[in-house]
Symmetry: D2
Subunit: 284 residues, 4 copies
């Protein structure tokens, strides 16, 4: 019996990069948070502190900035360029994962912008020296239906006190990630349309459970976007509790709600094509 080193990885997390592109007087703005993770033949640094195979995380950060000089393109493309660079240039590195969050800005003028909230477009690219996987996504998209949501017919066990309802608020902060079947796509169009499908499925589903809405959202993406083979959704149920105004001789016909913080339901699920290729390292 012995003690051994198992899976391991390292890298620079949360390199904050803003890239301005100037074409005449009109500027473009890209605002990213880039995290790199590398794995490979790294036993020596763990076992003896021999760093001969270690590319410093500081160098990874420099690489992100230097590569940005050439332009970013779609974040999926930027991730592919970076991931391939690290594995192809470093003998000891056999896998790279580059995760990018992109924050939106609304144009206010030729060189003026307003941050468009906390929603972020995301991409995670993994590369193992011969194959690459691309997962696109978004996070922080907060959606709410003020009706067209019911919840009833559920299990009543000895700990159940929740009343059934035929009309409630349904709200969530969507985190979605979707796997592409290849590494080439019309990334920006694919993203915009996938996001639109998620929103349309949320708003358009008369919901009997958040699970039903989750499945409808995943299915809508797969129906609309042939390049997407798998969708993973994480949907916190942002409970809005009807206030009992009875003690004040007031009714409350689904109008006054407490927006609760904790606890919250958390609904997570995957919708995929039954002939999807194996995920490989896509979700590493």
């Amino acid at each position: 019996m012995g003690i051994v080193l198992g899976d391991n990885q390292y890298g620079k997390a949360e390199t904050r990069l803003v890239r301005v592109s100037r074409t005449g007087d009109t500027h473009e703005l890209v605002d990213l948070n880039v995290s790199v993770a590398l794995a490979g033949d790294l036993d020596a640094t763990h076992l003896s502190g021999d760093n001969a195979g270690v590319l410093p995380t500081d160098s990874q950060k420099n690489t992100v900035y230097a590569f940005a000089r050439q332009g970013i393109g779609a974040i999926e493309e930027f991730g592919l360029r970076l991931a391939r660079h690290f594995v192809d240039s470093q003998p000891a590195i056999h896998r790279a994962r580059v995760s990018i969050e992109s924050y939106g800005w609304r144009r206010l003028g030729e060189h003026s912008f307003a941050r468009a909230g906390d929603e972020a477009r995301t991409a995670t690219v993994t590369y193992d020296g011969s194959w690459a996987w691309v997962v696109s996504g978004l996070t922080g998209l907060v959606l709410l239906n003020s009706t067209a949501s019911e919840f009833w017919g559920y299990v009543k066990d000895p700990y159940t006190t929740l009343p059934e309802t035929r009309d409630r608020i349904l709200a969530t902060a969507v985190t979605a990630r979707w796997r592409h079947h290849g590494t080439r796509s019309v990334w920006d169009e694919s993203y915009a349309d996938t996001r639109a499908e998620l929103v349309a499925a949320f708003t358009g589903t008369h919901s009997y459970s958040l699970q039903q809405t989750l499945y409808a959202m995943g299915r809508a993406v797969l129906d609309a976007r042939p390049e997407v083979v798998e969708v993973r959704l994480s949907l916190p149920n942002r409970h809005h509790l009807l206030v009992d105004l009875g003690p004040f001789d007031l009714d409350n016909p689904n109008e006054v709600f407490v927006a609760a913080d904790r606890p919250y339901g958390l609904i997570e699920g995957t919708v995929l094509r039954d002939d999807a290729a194996p995920a490989g390292l896509a979700w590493w």
Copy 2:
């Protein structure tokens, strides 16, 4: 010599309220965070724990929900109703301050909405039994100019290493509050136009310092809105540092930046009419 009780106040903070209004099939959504602070003849509870003059903070929360049943209106109006209620109905309470944050939602359908980022519209109403003061505001409005910002001609002391620049990114997260000269206004129109003036002044000012931009923003509001008599601005300077790509044989003509977290400059200032009435308890 003795020890005495000085200024004091108490109240319920951060009551989270969502109000749905249904007119036919089209719903309206209001999403608020309401904080109440009360002051008055409260020596007894401090000195001996005699609570005969204390309206529980739980009752204050209930009041917020009950008053919401009748509808909200502009948040300034809702604050006025609540502040007047607490002082006028409670003998021991001589002052009330109601602070409200309102979160924006974009309409997606008749009963569907998407949260519009972290920016909040704010209002603080103070009432002392005979007079009321209204301060409107906003927070979390993140603005950026990718050029038209310079910084030079400043003091060089022995600790100065910052190079002068004729072209930099200027970015900030605006917190603004503005005092009205009365308690009646076209609140929603006033808010929308004041916000537009702040944005236009930020984007339209060729800036030699964030202080200059701050003053231009305050002045623009006062020029445009006669009902506003004083503007207070707090502008963190969200530094974007040009990356030195020289070690990689790359130039960087103001294109690749680090978005820095800390430290940050913090510029705060007031712009007001020289004939503004005294502020009284407006900023209490």
Copy 3:
């Protein structure tokens, strides 16, 4: 009628500084967050962008690091050194405020430490060229009594539903600031003893309201520490709500509680000597 510049200030916020002192093999560690605010004759930069009187916030940051080279001492002393430097060396600067948070670390070995939670010791020093004021404090000290707290005998208005209780949990996250009557003290001893008095008063008070506990805390400090003339306390009431286990045929004799996030009561008050010198700019 005209539009004028009112109160204003600027400075570098949240400069993060760690200072290691080495005496033989035993190291000392100081971990600070330093914020500077300066005010004075700054009209030119606001009105025209003329920065001739502006010491860059970057230089302020450099000053913090350079002054740290000589050693820190008590944070009150470090604040005094910095505040005096900015006003005395800069003709345009007439006031300086230096606010410092100090984070605790527990010693684990000669050069090893563990961060001691989120509680911070604070100091705010203000200087106007001839006079200085020192306010010490702490934040993030979370205290809880699991009994010896009652709440009854309060106002019952039409919106009151809260049941009276003779036994509840009382919990708060203490933010306290206390003004010294001068600028010389045994700062570290004064801090340690003041903190101990606050804790002892919280735990030792059989409480009928959080206001009563607040006053007891302030009074205990003033009784024990002659150099302190005024104490300001901000005490959020971290509600712990008794869970109704009746539906599950269980009693709940004050044993199972929900720790609630929002809303929360917020109790704020001042306790001071009736012969305290005027506060001047202490709370600026």
Copy 4:
């Protein structure tokens, strides 16, 4: 080709529970954050909104509170009781995962306590109807060595600018999770000793890389605790950057540092016994 539902789970997250135990006048306090995730035969609710197999997340929350009435014990035991309950009592549920964070409080008196920082003890229990897995852990343990850390001999690629160092600060916020080989243990003793081993390995390792320290920490636990078969560590490198005081004619012999926020290195790895039983659902 079709579209199918893949892996899915749901549950109540972040149920905040405080449990007071009274034995005579001396109280004990337990402060938990409990998250439940259930999986099983949940196709119907996803595909058609038929909730006949769905135990509401609200009922899960109630269960946590009701079970707490009987006492908590070690959090691993509490997790086992809850996980077994959900699977054994619900026909549609085939797997449960209960994740618990426990926050520390220091005793100040018979019924008085102070929160002991942000560090949390954690446990995750998974149960599939016949087998259970227990993973203990901690998060938020911030450790720092002010010397005895070097970093040199690493790869120098064209993007490397980092200077080698023989003396630096090494600091991290430890997140550790360790898998037990069974479901019975002296949980509290096991936790206390494992935590002590992690701390001792961090402080006692003269480090040439954070990876080396990580491996030493994992190995120390496995050497000391036979009941632990696998340790997973996530160690952000909290960089402390030496300030260049040269422009101010000052040296800086490893005394004045910037505590940087982002980016940060992130070092993650696993240390395990080579004869450890397969992990099964332990890390689900």
